[in-house]
Symmetry: C2
Subunit: 294 residues, 2 copies
């Protein structure tokens, strides 16, 4: 099982507390020290839209460079892509949205335009030696439209796969998904995007995130996003918890006999440290409860 | 899917805040108004051991009596059984422990003696028209011994089933279980206790509770314990969350197309109300996040 550590990007982007560049780099160093090897380090979006990510270039300039660690940057357009490549990311994470309303409000472009954005980048990414992963947002439900037809998600997955991207992710942006839905969507996406690696991105907003992670694994998904501390609450549900917590996921994987390469003691230390930086307890529970006794 | 609402007993018993008898009865009334029909109302243990449950008789005297609502009382010995029957419970919930150390510390008797306690009650329960459900505690791990051999759990299930009880529950007392373990233990228990109804009792201490609930359902379990608000933290992990929350479980079931008879809007109201009674936010997330949008 491969874990993409998203705390530096999806985890921090909605935090009210300003986190210094040095602390972001320290978080990434702690993730690496915990055995994590694939890290969504930052987001190359307009600083006015996401002030927490205004130091994207500085973060990338400060992270340790190792042959066995891969850094991803979120990009939503050509400008962001050029910045990400110049900053030396190993891969870009592009976003398309399964719901038209969310796409217009969050990305400020139609779904078709967001697919076109990816299309315009793929060749240049290949030429630059940069991987492309595409996240399908609101795949399990939309805060504005409610139900998102599975047919719409699968059609989008098919369109994106035809662009020749390396990986497609199904994202439960607002944490509404349940395991049965995960099983259906993963099977459908595997059929709609044959040969493309599948990743899943779950939020634990309604306490279904870890059940969904297990359902994704059972359905054949080999890459999961998670964030140390489980930070990353959705702006549409301000008090709700965020991404599934890396330390809680690793406990679940370890006890299930599924190897991830990540180590719980270091993750718990990192989670405690991150709570200190943010000045509030994190949603992840392993740091409070401790691992399996004995 | 049948839900046993355990907030009045397992939920409240470790709460530091003293909850009045009137509020306990109000909680039970709210559970019933939410469509719940099987309620663990109280515990008939020594008041010095669990002060929060000292008003067991008063609670049972005050709950609404309806033909479609069943009340359970936890009993650990003959004295408790006699009190429960006199108070008019519909069923008793007895506890045996899969780990000898936990049994000695928590029940103050050996595992064999706790099985003997159940044996001594079964005939009288039948004569009194009172159902007997037996919960196997620490079935997924023990705070003192760590790993609990599955063979020990299954041997205990077999012994208990031979007593002719109506239902056996596998309880993850300290919230350490994972879905693969649930699948193995449920299948093993079904084989060891043929014809006995199976119930599962999960705590969300390490964020595995809802994944375990789904695993139990997939393995054929038809009865799950949960508590409104997700209250019921374990004394061995003071800051960790408690039982799986009824409202979060019902969201998960509803969205999975599994009928439980419980209604989310009333459960969310009850959860909010309970947080007010306890003076602290409850661990359940549905009351904060809201149901599926739209």
């Amino acid at each position: 099982m491969e874990i993409v550590e998203v705390s530096p990007r999806d985890g921090l982007q909605n935090e009210a507390v300003h986190v210094s560049t040095a602390d972001k780099i320290a978080l990434i160093e702690r993730a690496i020290a915990s055995g994590l090897r694939r890290i969504e380090a930052t987001s190359f979006v307009h600083p006015a839209a996401v002030p927490q990510m205004a130091d994207a270039e500085a973060v990338m300039a400060g992270v340790p460079r190792r042959a066995d660690v891969s850094y991803s940057g979120l990009v939503l357009n050509r400008r962001g892509f050029d910045r990400a490549v110049a900053a030396g990311v190993d891969e870009v994470n592009c976003v398309v949205v399964a719901s038209e309303t969310f796409s217009l409000r969050n990305q400020r472009m139609s779904v078709a335009d967001s697919v076109q954005t990816v299309r315009d980048l793929v060749d240049d990414a290949r030429a630059a030696g940069v991987g492309v992963s595409v996240t399908i947002a609101t795949a399990f439900g939309c805060p504005f439209e409610g139900e998102v037809p599975e047919s719409a998600v699968l059609a989008l997955a098919s369109q994106v796969a035809e662009l020749g991207v390396g990986e497609i992710a199904l994202a439960d942006t607002i944490g509404v998904g349940v395991p049965a839905q995960v099983a259906r969507l993963v099977a459908g996406t595997a059929a709609a995007a044959p040969g493309t690696r599948l990743r899943c991105h779950f939020h634990n907003t309604r306490n279904t995130g870890y059940a969904n992670a297990i359902a994704a694994i059972d359905a054949g998904v080999t890459v999961l996003d998670s964030s140390i501390g489980g930070i990353g609450g959705c702006p549409f549900a301000p008090d709700a918890t965020g991404n599934i917590a890396t330390e809680d996921l690793v406990y679940l994987l370890d006890r299930s006999g599924i190897a991830s390469g990540a180590r719980l003691p270091e993750l718990i230390e990192a989670s405690d440290w991150l709570g200190g930086v943010l000045g509030a307890p994190v949603p992840g529970q392993l740091a409070r409860a401790g691992g399996f006794p004995g």
